[in-house]
Amino acid sequence: MSQDNGMKSGSNLEKVFRAGHLAVTCECGPPKGADVEHLKKKIQMIKGYVDAANVTDNQTAVVRMSSIGASAILAQNGVEPVMQMVTRDRNRIAAQSDLFGAYALGIRNMLCLTGDHQKFGNHPFAKNVFDMDSIQLLNMVRTIRDEGKVNSGDPVEGGVSMFFGAAANPFADPFEFRVIRMAKKIHAGADFIQTQCIYDMVRFKEFMKMARDMGLHEKAFIMAGLTPLKSVGMARYMNRNVSGITIPEAIIKRLAGVPKERQAEEGIRICLEQIEELKEERGIRGFHIMAIEWEEKIPEIVERAGLYPRPAVA
């Protein structure tokens, strides 16, 4: 699959990809504090239904338990973490140090992000870092893994065999540039890609065609990002407030067309139809299901999508 066809990390997620299965990941947002029990409840909900779970890094710049700490708890409790790391809050010294710490704690997947601007969070008065962007972070961690050197060129003591991922947003602007940015991320070191949640299927397929034309589907494992909509209210809210997400009018009409108490079920049906459609899309190697504050629906979605049981790979 990737250039040398060799295992990079031996993580479960990587093994599932390399064995040719459609992979399934979800998101597991850490608590806004040190409430381990709350986190463990979420872990129990998703355990066995996903190959790995993304642990967000202070997403939308709201302070939460660190992604390293929460990822370690996931690993201890039987769910493989994809530790997210943003450059908003750490410079390259901290990022590399955190990478080593995470690896030492048994974390084998990492998603490299720039991160949401602090303006959106609960500390808009904080100073950001942005020493690097996500592409530079990818390049740095890949160099640590593949060349055994930190950013300064100094040698790394002990190997770091991690599986690195990146996000791609096919729905932001300028459109013709989005696939180039994904190519830049893959070139920098992304082994896998998780896309922003897909609602506009026409645009997404156009994006995938451009990706295939560039051969990107053979250079990285591309996962389609999906977020089931709980209600027409949520759909309208996301349309208005989440930059780079456009929910087509047809979906909004469909949700609005059923009574309020049945909208959640309709949202899940839409998500399942999207999964069915994308299973046929060449170059899609898995699904990243972001059920926002709705983790309890993950088992149902995975089962109804025909993606259960998850493969056991050696």
Binding site: R92, T114, H117, I135, D173, F177, G244
Partner: protein, 222 residues
């Protein structure tokens, strides 16, 4: 130029309240161009302060002087004959000018009357916007003449991020996405291929990465 905005009158009133005689300083350079602290603004502020205090029955004695450049010791020296009378100085120059006055006159309290904002350019009358972050290692030659460090909210070197929508930045719907501007310009120049190369992590040392900076031109410093 260096841009600035005058502080609120109430804050300035509190700064000078303990004093009876102050020196109010303007600067004829950048703050004049951005209408924050030139001769005209000095006059307006002096009137406002006098009025504010006269309501309380206090007569504030204000000496108004606008220097050619407040960041230059040669011009700041012109203040020496007037400094004896003043109990405090209120400077409408940028932070550089305020500090130069404070450095020269050690025993006088000096207060800033403006908030120094950024290095920017005039978009049109009355509107200025940030253009340069003074990173010390200019990349404009490869970014189509638009600076991602000063003009991208996340200082991305390989943008635009997923928050670029309709040419605007997700941080503020009124703010242009710098990377959309870069992309458009590179396309206009037929140079979009250049963008496909990854820009390496920046060495911040020429910027603030190595502490406060100094330029020494041996040929001029002698």
């Amino acid at each position: 130029m260096i841009t600035a905005e005058r502080k609120p009158l109430s804050e300035l009133v509190e700064c000078v309240r303990p004093y009876g005689r102050i020196l109010l300083l303007g600067c004829n350079e950048c703050v004049t161009v951005c209408a924050a602290g030139g001769r005209k603004e000095v006059g307006l502020l002096a009137s406002s302060l006098k009025m504010a205090f006269s309501k309380d029955g206090k007569n504030l004695d204000i000496k108004e002087i606008t220097l050619e450049r407040q960041c230059d010791p040669e011009y700041v020296e012109e203040l020496a004959p007037h400094m004896g009378e003043a109990e405090a100085v209120l400077s409408m120059a940028c932070g550089c000018g305020v500090q130069e006055v404070a450095r020269r006159f050690m025993d006088k309290p000096v207060f800033p009357a403006v908030n120094t904002k950024f290095m920017g350019a005039s978009e049109r009358q009355g509107i200025w916007s940030e253009r340069c972050a003074g990173c010390g290692d200019c990349v404009l030659g490869i970014t189509g003449g638009i600076c991602p460090i000063a003009r991208c909210s996340k200082q991305l070197m390989n943008g635009p991020c997923g928050g670029s929508s309709g040419g605007k930045c997700e941080v503020d719907a009124e703010m242009d996405c710098a990377w959309q501007l870069i992309w458009d310009r590179l396309k206009a120049l037929g140079l979009e291929k250049r963008y496909e190369e990854n820009m390496p992590a920046k060495d911040w040392r020429p910027g603030r990465g190595a502490g406060p900076r100094k330029i020494i031109r041996e040929d001029l410093a002698r």
